[in-house]
Every structure is written in structure tokens, then in C-alpha cells.
């Protein structure tokens, strides 16, 4: 339990799969508690021997299946089976008795379903259970809570209404929660894609400038390679101290490995990987080094430029710092038009795209800007109203701002 508590406290750092596993574990704990508390009743009540045996056995069977799925890492299946177990118990208690708590058991089962925080699961299982309970109460007015009815004070209708309202309120809860997270999710994904593209442009511009200034790129620079060898040597030294048994082999290989790393920059990796005759070791290292090559827009460059982007001065803007949609940035129409003009002027005068040779030298032409403004993607920045304004006065934009 302490472990579960710790996990709940640090749940923001768990993956979705780990959170689901944690939830199933918690539900199983309560399921066990619940089974131990309620199932012995089947032996006390006046049931046939078959019912008295079948019910606990079914419970045990479903519980074991849930447990096995959880142990074998199938948390989602375990989730479904834990819900089936609770639903089975609820239906059994509702159908079998007119007991005081069978009505509340419906809420507990809905709670279990809500606990998993999955809208589809809630709609299917929660909706099914609620519909069943409402129909059942309608068809069997003498069942659930019957012996406590005082006739006029609480009708079946109110009980059904409270249950239905509970289901609908949580359904609303799921829709609100899901729709907002979906928006933030899309925003993060879109911003990530923008960062990745801009980083690609930076990398390309770095290469263009390297070429124009006639200086060697880092992976062709001997002093860079020497520095890498010597720093890797320090790392090996340290490992020698910590793991003397593993160090000897590395000591021999590290310089060769650094040379191989630089050698790979000039090779077609696909052909190396496809070559049947390539030694196993060479293939293994080629695959391992692939994302870390300096002439590829992959992991190594992502890391380098991520760190370098922290070295630029931070923007001093505080108010509406991250707002990039004109609706959030401006309330006054005239400021919006000024902003639109600045936006157009930048796009029409600065190289923000690759040209046909791959260099970051392409400045958008008026027709391209128009196409961009008419695309649905620009809705993250401009409103329909801004685009209409632009289209109505595009000749002025073109004449004064290109």
C-alpha cells in the first residue's frame, strides 16, 4: 500500500500504462476487500446450494483472470475484467435481493468505472449498467430498497433520476476533461512540430554558412575529432577506476570507435546496413551511432540545439507572453491590422523556407503567402476576419510591404 501511495504522489511522472497498472492494483485491492465482506452472505441467505457455490466461484474466477492479466502486463484487459467482476456482483445483488445496499452498489460500480478515467469505457459499461438499473427498478418496483419505501416520500422515479443525473454529470465531466486535454495535446504536438522544423532550418543554415565561409564542418574537423577522442579517453579512464574488469577491452577500442563514428558521416548508412558481408560489429555500431551523427537532423543535433537555444536572451515580455493567436494578443482592431502588416512584411522579406537546393534561402512570394493565409493551419494564428481583411486589400500588402 505504501508503494501504491508513493506512486499516486508521483503519478505525474508515470507513463499512461504505469498509471493504468496502478489503478488496476488499487481496484483489485478493493475488490478483494469487497468480496471478503459480502460473499460470505451467500451462505447465510436462503439460496440454493448451486447459487451459494456458483457465485463465489465466479467471483474467484474473474478475480484470478484479472490478477493474471495484471501480472502478465495486460493492464487494459485486467481493467475490463475488474469492471466485469463488479458488474457481475452488482447485477447478482440487484437481481437476487431487495437489499438495502444493492442500490448503492450501482454507484460503487460506476465509481470503479469512473476511476479508470476512460470515456469510452464509461459510456459502454457505465451507460449499460445505468440503463439496466433504471429498467430493472422500473420492472421490479418491489426490489431495490423496497422495504424502506415510505410510499409517498420517495418514488422510484426520484431514485432513477438521481442515478441518471449521476451518470450524466460524470459523462459531462469526461467530455470537459477530454476536450480540454485534447486541445492542449494538439497544441503541444503542433508546437513540437514547429520547433522541429525551425531546428531543421537552423541546422541547414549552419551547414550553408559553413559551406559559404569555407570552413570544415565539425565532423570533418581534425581538431574536433581529436578533442572527442581525448574527452572519450577521460570517460574510459573513469570507468577503468570504477570497473577495472571491463576496462581493458574498451581502452583498446575507444579510439577506433571514435574514428568509426566520424567515418560513418561519409557513408551511406542504408547501404552499410543492407550489405550482407558487413561484419556484425560494424553493423551494430552503425545502427547505434545513426541517430547521433552530426550531419543528420536527429537526436544529437536535437540535443545540441536544444541546449544552444537556452543561451539566447529570454524574452522580457510578461503579459500574454505565449499568445500567438491574434484574438489573444489584441483587442483593438487597429493593432490587429498593424500586426497583420508586420507579419506580411516579415514573410515577404525574410528567408523562412528551403529553396529547391535545400538551402534556407527561399522568401515567400505573395501568392505563397496568400495560399498560407487561406490554409486551415493558419487558424492557429489568424482569424477568419484577418484573412478576409488581407484578401480584400491584398494589393496594398503587395505594393507597400513586399
Amino acid at each position: 500500500m505504501r508503494d501504491i501511495y508513493q506512486k499516486i504522489r508521483a503519478s505525474e511522472f508515470l507513463t499512461s500504462a504505469e498509471v493504468l497498472q496502478l489503478k488496476v492494483s488499487l481496484v483489485m485491492f478493493f475488490l478483494l476487500l469487497f468480496g471478503v465482506l459480502t460473499l460470505p452472505v451467500t451462505f447465510i441467505e436462503e439460496f440454493t446450494l448451486t447459487v451459494a457455490i456458483v457465485v463465489p466461484l465466479t467471483f474467484l474466477f474473474l478475480y484470478m483472470i484479472t490478477f493474471l492479466f495484471l501480472v502478465y502486463g495486460k493492464a487494459r484487459l485486467a481493467m475490463h475484467f475488474s469492471i466485469y467482476t463488479f458488474i457481475a456482483l452488482t447485477v447478482y445483488y440487484m437481481g437476487g435481493w431487495g437489499h438495502f445496499y444493492s442500490y448503492f452498489l450501482i454507484f460503487v460500480t460506476l465509481t470503479i468505472i469512473i476511476f479508470y478515467q476512460d470515456i469510452t469505457t464509461y459510456i459502454i459499461y457505465g451507460g449499460g449498467l445505468t440503463a439496466f438499473a433504471i429498467i430493472f427498478m422500473q420492472a421490479n418496483p418491489d426490489a431495490v430498497l423496497a422495504q424502506y419505501m415510505n410510499g409517498e416520500a420517495l418514488s422510484i422515479l426520484i431514485r432513477q433520476a438521481v442515478l441518471l443525473a449521476f451518470f450524466i454529470v460524470f459523462l459531462l465531466y469526461f467530455f470537459l476533461s477530454d476536450s480540454y486535454l485534447e486541445t492542449v495535446n494538439n497544441e503541444i504536438v503542433r508546437n513540437h512540430a514547429t520547433i522541429s522544423r525551425t531546428r531543421g532550418l537552423i541546422l541547414q543554415r549552419n551547414e550553408d554558412l559553413t559551406y559559404r565561409k569555407e570552413i570544415a564542418p565539425l565532423y570533418e574537423d581534425d581538431s574536433f575529432e581529436n578533442a572527442v577522442k581525448r574527452i572519450a579517453g577521460i570517460a574510459v579512464e573513469r570507468r577503468q577506476g570504477e570497473h577495472p574488469e571491463r576496462s581493458k577491452e574498451t581502452e583498446v577500442n575507444i579510439e577506433e570507435l571514435v574514428e568509426y563514428y566520424f567515418f560513418l558521416h561519409h557513408q551511406n548508412l542504408e547501404s552499410i546496413k543492407e550489405k550482407q558481408s558487413a561484419p556484425e560489429l560494424a553493423l551494430r555500431y552503425a545502427r547505434a551511432f545513426e541517430p547521433y551523427l552530426l550531419n543528420r537532423a536527429e537526436d544529437m543535433n536535437e540535443l545540441i540545439y536544444k541546449v544552444l537555444s537556452r543561451c539566447v536572451p529570454a524574452s522580457p515580455l510578461i503579459y500574454r507572453r505565449y499568445a500567438t493567436h491574434f484574438n489573444s494578443m489584441f483587442k483593438t482592431r487597429s493593432y490587429r491590422i498593424i500586426a497583420l502588416a508586420i507579419l506580411y512584411r516579415f514573410l515577404a522579406n525574410e528567408a523562412t523556407k528551403r529553396d529547391r537546393w535545400g538551402k534556407v534561402d527561399h522568401i515567400l512570394e505573395h501568392t505563397e503567402i496568400k495560399k498560407l493565409f487561406k490554409s486551415p493551419q493558419i487558424r492557429t494564428i489568424l482569424d477568419f476576419e484577418d484573412v478576409t481583411f488581407f484578401l480584400n486589400h491584398e494589393h496594398l500588402f503587395r505594393a507597400y510591404l513586399s
Binding site: 476487500l33 476511476f115 503541444i188 581529436n226 539566447v312 502588416a341
Partner: protein
């Protein structure tokens, strides 16, 4: 650490935290409206139920009045958020008010079935999805439910008290409160992380734009460039005003921009005074001091073919850093390449000292791809590594 580095770092962290907090406030404000509408519907339903059930008039007035008051509180906090400062106050008032109402309903009807109204109240408060309110919600339900079950058996028509049925109901209550509170804690903690990540990604996006801008040829985004931008926009605005035959409302604003951005004190002479509300909008447009519009334009230029994935992503997968290779020997090489590449000058950057690299990596755990042992190695050997880099840059190195 240098003062400039510390200032930049602190500015970024403050901005990210502020944005994450504001996202939470924005969500909560929307939820106040939803709860207000929901409670309006409930007010109608409860009123009709009370009237049809023939409960005393004073009970009807008290319950309906309380519900209407709660509706008013939620609407008021939604439409006038600045009057109250903290929106959470509305959620606390609604929580306590609704439980009071539920107690009233349970005591009026004196039927165990009414106990479920407490669960319904819990569901309504859950809509807020706010951490402290969720804790208060769970605690209040537990206390109210327990007290009703064990100390006021008469409201259950004799069904409650210390009977096995009551104990079962108590067990249900425990399961209900515990599981839902745990579910909300998990959800809200993860949501807070999503907000924080979202803000951090926005900051990273701006930093990347700034790095791109720093690579532009000289004279593209400096003071002179900003002046040129304002001049061109002014010509455009004048042409627009004369074309549609309206007074030129732009000149004043552009003069103010010049004054604020380029410290051109002559610029705003003779212009109208600036209203307090306009200042934040003007700041968005300052090209030399703020550069926000350059960022927006750069973002716009990269948007055309971006299509967000519709699937729900896992934060860990989507936002975690690529790790240095897990293979032990490869990781030694990639570590050395990473440090050296950051230190060597490039056309886009003059290179960092080992001290600066360490400052950046240790100031933000989300930015450090190095395993602990390698970070330690870098710390312990920073002077040695720096002298290797200096040697090689001077062309004095030896292998």
C-alpha cells in the same frame, strides 16, 4: 553562474510557471460556468420535486433559495473574476453549500435512497477538477456520510445505525471516497504536468525562433530594421485609410511604437494619450525590444503542412529528451561528441565553455540528457575537458 544566465533562466522559469498556473485558472473559470448552468437545471428539478412531494413551504424556500444563491455565486465569479482574485473561493462555497442542501434533502425525505444525493453532489463538485476542491469534496462527503449513517438513523427510516447494512454502506462510502479522490489526484497531478509541459514547449519554441533570428544576416532585425518596418507599415496604413476613406487611426499608434521601441522621444509628440489598456497590446508589437511579432511570423511560416495527430499522446514519449545511447561504449563516444560539439564554435553560435554547459544542464533537469554518472564526470573533470578543448581550438592538441 553569470548574472545574465541567472536572469534568463529565472525569467524563463517564472514565465513557464505563470503560464501553467494561468492555464489552470482558465479551465477553472470555464468550469464555474458549467456548474452554474448545471445548478440552474438542478434548481428547477429540485423545486418541482419538492412541490410534487408536498414538503413544507419553508423547506422548499430554504432549499431553492440556497441553490439559487450558489448559482449566483458561480455566475458572479465567472463574469467578474477580477473582483474576487481567487476563483477557488467560489468552488469552496459551492461545495459546502451543496452538502448543506443534501443534508437538508436527506432530513426532509427521511429515506435511505436519498443518501445517493450525496454522491450526486460529489459528482457536481468534481466538474471543477481542482485539486484542493477535490480534497475538500472527498473529506466533506466522508464526514457528512459517516455522521448521517451512524448518528442520525432516523433519517434513514430506521435502516441505519449500527446494523450490518449500515456497515456495508459505510464500506461503500469508503470505497467511493477513496477511489474517486485517488482518481482525481492522479488526473489533476497529470494535468498540471501537461500544463507545465505545454508552457515549457511554448518557451522552447520561442527560444528556437530567437536562435533562428540570431542567425539572420546583420541588419535584418536590429533597430534600423524595426524603424524600416514601422515606416513601411505607416505607408501601408495611410494608403489603406485613404482607400476606404476613413480617418487614419494608425499614425498615433505607430508613433507610440517608435517612441517605446526606438526611444524616439520626438515620435509621440502631438499624439493622443495612450490608454492603460493599450499598453499590453503595444508591447506585443515592439519589434526591437520584444520581437514577439517576428516569432509569430516565423511560426506562421512553418504552419502550412503541420497536421496535429488526433491520437492521445503519452507525455513521457512525446516530450522526453532523446537519451544518449544506452550501449556503454557508444554512450562514451556520444557523450564526448555532445560536450565537444557544444564547446566548438559554429557559424550559428560561438560555442559554450564547459562551465556554461554544466550551468545549463544542471539548471533544468528536463534539459539534461546525460546520465548522472556522466554529469558527475563532467563536473569533476571540467577544467581538464576545458583545457583539451582550448588546446584543440588553438591547434595545439595531441592525441
Amino acid at each position: 553562474m553569470s548574472e545574465a544566465f541567472l536572469w534568463n533562466h529565472q525569467t524563463r522559469m517564472d514565465a513557464i510557471e505563470r503560464e501553467a498556473r494561468m492555464q489552470g485558472t482558465r479551465v477553472l473559470r470555464g468550469r464555474l460556468l458549467v456548474v452554474a448552468v448545471l445548478l440552474t437545471v438542478f434548481t428547477f428539478m429540485v423545486s418541482v420535486t419538492f412541490l410534487l412531494s408536498g414538503v413544507p413551504l419553508e423547506a422548499w424556500v430554504a432549499n431553492t433559495g440556497l441553490l439559487l444563491l450558489l448559482v449566483l455565486v458561480n455566475f458572479l465569479f465567472y463574469f467578474r473574476p477580477h473582483y474576487f482574485g481567487d476563483l477557488k473561493l467560489a468552488t469552496y462555497i459551492t461545495t459546502l453549500g451543496l452538502y448543506l442542501l443534501a443534508i437538508g434533502m436527506v432530513s426532509v425525505f427521511e429515506n435511505p435512497g436519498m443518501f445517493a444525493v450525496l454522491f450526486l453532489v460529489y459528482a457536481v463538485i468534481s466538474i471543477y477538477q481542482e485539486l484542493r476542491t477535490s480534497v475538500l469534496n472527498g473529506a466533506t462527503l466522508f464526514v457528512v456520510g459517516t455522521v448521517l449513517l451512524f448518528y442520525f438513523p432516523e433519517v434513514f427510516g430506521g435502516a441505519a445505525g449500527w446494523s450490518p447494512d449500515t456497515l456495508y454502506l459505510f464500506a461503500f462510502l469508503v470505497i467511493f471516497v477513496f477511489l474517486l479522490t485517488a482518481a482525481f489526484l492522479i488526473l489533476l497531478k497529470r494535468r498540471r504536468r501537461v500544463f507545465f509541459t505545454s508552457a515549457a514547449v511554448k518557451e522552447e519554441q520561442f527560444n528556437t525562433f530567437e536562435l533562428f533570428l540570431s542567425m539572420l544576416p546583420p541588419g535584418r532585425i536590429d533597430k534600423e530594421a524595426a524603424k524600416k518596418y514601422y515606416e513601411d507599415v505607416e505607408r501601408f496604413a495611410k494608403a489603406f485609410s485613404s482607400e476606404v476613406d476613413v480617418p487614419d487611426v494608425f499614425s498615433d499608434k505607430l508613433q507610440w511604437l517608435r517612441r517605446l521601441d526606438l526611444k524616439d522621444t520626438e515620435a509621440a509628440k502631438g499624439t493622443s494619450t495612450l490608454s492603460h489598456d493599450e499598453v499590453p497590446e503595444l508591447h506585443q508589437l515592439l519589434l526591437k525590444r520584444i520581437r514577439k511579432m517576428y516569432y509569430v511570423a516565423l511560426k506562421a511560416s512553418q504552419q502550412e503542412t503541420i497536421r496535429p495527430k488526433s491520437r492521445r499522446f503519452d507525455l513521457q514519449d512525446e516530450t522526453s529528451l532523446p537519451a544518449l545511447a544506452s550501449d556503454e561504449e557508444v554512450s562514451l563516444v556520444t557523450f564526448a561528441v555532445f560536450v565537444t560539439a557544444l564547446s566548438f564554435p559554429k557559424p550559428v553560435h560561438k560555442g559554450l565553455t564547459v562551465e556554461q554547459i554544466l550551468n545549463i544542464l544542471t539548471s533544468d533537469p528536463f534539459l539534461n540528457p546525460l546520465p548522472e554518472e556522466m554529469l558527475e564526470l563532467l563536473k569533476q573533470n571540467k577544467q581538464r575537458i576545458q583545457s583539451i578543448i582550448d588546446d584543440e581550438l588553438r591547434g595545439e592538441g595531441s592525441t
